[in-house]
Symmetry: C2
Subunit: 208 residues, 2 copies
Amino acid sequence: MKNEFCYNAKALDEMERVKRLKLINSISGVKSANLIGTKSKKGISNLCIISSVTHIGSNPPLLGFICRPTNKVKRDTFDNILENPYFTINSVEQSKIKNAHLTSAKYDKEISEFDECGFQEHYIDNFPIPFVLESRVKIGLELKQKVKLINGTYFIIGRIKLLNIPNNELHETMGGSVGVIGLNTYYSIKKMSEFDYARLKKVKNKTK
Amino acid sequence: MKNEFCYNAKALDEMERVKRLKLINSISGVKSANLIGTKSKKGISNLCIISSVTHIGSNPPLLGFICRPTNKVKRDTFDNILENPYFTINSVEQSKIKNAHLTSAKYDKEISEFDECGFQEHYIDNFPIPFVLESRVKIGLELKQKVKLINGTYFIIGRIKLLNIPNNELHETMGGSVGVIGLNTYYSIKKMSEFDYARLKKVKNKTK
């Protein structure tokens, strides 16, 4: 095919660092943008944008995300979760993407990104970590597993202890989702198709 | 707030199974849709739609995905990767979402989903697993880590050995990405904003 680019392992190894970072961060496609809320033992809250929140299972309800403790921003998140094993996952709203993106800057450990980036802390019931008031989807989790991956990053898995959504119309709520490709390009989404769960009998009818 | 729904751990535990499955699968937001290609020792290829492909790192270039070996479709993927530790990740194109969704049905182990679901196998160089010809982004990986998570699912991590993209304009290529929310609703994406990498100095200027 004309203009196609094919990189083998050697070409990827030898690629200039920033070019490779942008390339590898983008190629898996769109990812949801979420804000992770944590709190240190000293009581300082932290907010950090993450695009790796992954569904692990629904019974028990588990979500995971990737944390790179060598990065200053995510180190606060990582350290806080070790000190205080609860965290919140908060949706990024379209009207707040600029603020959400700012949480990826390096702030002093004594400063809360809630204040610095223009979000309001919001507590629900007795959950120990603040939620983002402006987020329509608010999820409170307890740390359940922390797995060290081969490159030194951690996969952090939490069990959902509290879930707050604006209404029970999931497609309406989630239709406002914000996606990210790479590290700094934000996308809105538009519904294309909804299919039945694929069953072999139906599939056969459809493909014939 | 009016009409807000708040579920605690007990309410989630007691929720009807399918309702909880749909809810928990949706709340983390949009996820990219990709097709995982594998091949058994006997030489039968398998194709399976996955929405959990996650960026782990760019140096070395690593991607991961969640595999639930109790599910018949993903068991083939899991078994094949154990037998033959290579796999491909292929983008889902907007014109092919119906076909891609069909790979989530349960097929006989002796049948290749490439043929059954209307995709063409495509080999590049000496990579041992077929790519999806119709996919614009084709990634070939070697299994590097397999982590058992607390609910019995596995996090499968591969190192990129081959990457084929239609051109070097990443935003053009990835702008055609297909996203999924939950298990069966597909979305196109539309670029909203691109920001600089957030640096404290800039942040301060912007928030003042």
